[in-house]
Symmetry: C2
């Protein structure tokens, strides 16, 4: 898809996608570096992960490039946090 | 809108909305109770808030009840966190 064919709706969506996805990365990096998962709640991480998977499915059903892009990355971020929580939670 | 007129797409969307919105509330409650905002990053909160506002606009443009519902609540949650961060950040 050529950049000029993006309409203003998808520009707003991609802006949203970049901002909310980027806001998540420092948490993943911090948890990876410190291995401190004490303040992360396991039930919350599980609910959030399932929720993001559903948003991704919804993004495909709504035919929304912005939602597919954002939620593909956030699925990975929240899967990593879940993995760290289970691995480092002694 | 009658519940039976909801299609399966919006059921998936509402499932996603409830899960990701609910996952956010314990953080708001914890911050409100403890007044501890030391581990919250101000730039991250600002980026996230702007991102959610854009998702809300995008939800209206995409005519998505699930996105409008989820992001209306999350706009309030992230606005509260931002307010707590500014108020309690001594």
């Amino acid at each position: 898809m050529h950049i000029l064919s993006l309409n203003y709706m998808e520009l707003i969506g991609f802006g949203a996608a970049v901002l909310t996805t980027a806001a998540f990365l420092p948490q993943v990096y911090k948890t990876w570096k410190t291995k401190d998962v004490s303040s992360l709640s396991l039930p919350m991480l599980i609910l959030f992960f399932i929720g993001i998977v559903l948003w991704l499915v919804y993004g495909f059903l709504k035919d929304s490039p912005s939602m597919i892009f954002a939620n593909s990355i956030t699925v990975l971020s929240s899967m990593l946090l879940l993995y760290f929580k289970i691995k480092y939670n002694k």
